[in-house]
Assembly symmetry: C2
């Protein structure tokens, strides 16, 4: 509308940087913000400013938090004998939502992907080896994604930890709970068949 860049255009351009937000959505958000209740923009500005200033990787597990070590690493009630290795901080959130896991985490911040030029040295692995040194940890659960990169990372970890004397396991693959078999993808169905268990047997 103006001849040069104006605050509205600048805000649209800034919000367009966000993933999944195109020109139209950014404009819709900006005009919504211009009519939003008085404290809305300051609340967002303050939250983003805090995010940038206060959030750092935990020196123990690499998860992103405001405390160091993070609340989970500092929590003595968590089982120190089991570490779940995940690709991303979001995965820690997912496990905590599920509420089934009482051990500790280690965040790799990625997965091995030769095509993207990401090798083991790009992952948060050194601190993992440090954590295994004193013999407390008995099991490392590799909870990487069930895809090519996650598989490569799991295989690498299994080899890396073979001599450390910990049990290395991986999350079970199969059909998701709630999936109709008709619509299950072929690979998951194959995995579910391959890893089938006796009914009334070892849990389930």
């Amino acid at each position: 509308m103006a001849d040069g860049p104006d605050p509205i255009e600048a805000a649209v351009r800034a919000l367009r940087r966000l993933p999944g937000i195109g020109e139209k959505t950014a404009a819709r958000l900006v005009y919504w913000l211009l009519r939003a209740p008085d404290g809305t923009i300051p609340a967002i500005v303050d939250a983003l400013t805090r995010l940038r200033a206060e959030v750092h990787p935990c020196r123990v597990c690499g998860d992103l938090t405001a405390t160091n070590p993070c609340a989970l690493c500092a929590d003595g009630r968590r089982d120190a004998r089991v570490i779940a290795v995940v690709e991303r901080p979001q995965d820690v959130r997912a496990f905590e939502r599920a509420g089934e896991f009482r051990g500790r985490y280690h965040v790799l911040h990625g997965a091995i992907s030769p095509l993207d030029g990401i090798g083991p040295s790009d992952l948060n692995l050194r601190t993992l080896l440090d954590r295994l040194r004193d013999g407390t940890v008995q099991e490392v659960i590799v909870a990487t994604d069930p895809d090519v990169e996650g598989d490569a990372t799991a295989l690498y970890l299994a080899r890396l930890l073979a001599d450390v004397g910990v049990r290395v396991t991986r999350l079970a693959h199969g059909i998701s709970v709630g999936t109709e078999i008709e619509y299950a993808d072929a690979i998951s169905l194959g995995q579910a068949l391959h890893h089938r268990r006796p009914i009334g047997g070892d849990g389930g």
Copy 2:
């Protein structure tokens, strides 16, 4: 993840205020921001801060801009004899993108909607009457949305301006360019039929 609200949770909550952004999308944006290039968060914070500090309604047309009057109202090359009355600042953007209109705008900031308790006194109408006072304006194009509220507002404006001595017109309704007739909605098709024009006649 933490026992109390932490910066990540706070940022997720702040972004969830935005329309169309739910818990999952907000979390995705926050974790993306935590890994984004260094200047990303400051750029967004700065843009939102400017948006709040610098953008105000134009005293002439009511459009939201950083200058007062806005660039369009201050532009002597725009035809001062025609005013397009729109509901929202975004509608001005849409007209300017189309590039067909060379007149001026007036932004109502809403439309009459008794069900939502929005009456004529809630719209930016007083300054519109001021603009018509000196006789420069010869036509008011009512460019409200083709819906119940837009129709009610158009009707109200036509009556309000009946004695002012300006021509009051409304945007043509019909089927959108590119629409396949098979999929056109019934009301637009009805309007298109009702307002049909001779081929090679008055334009089109």
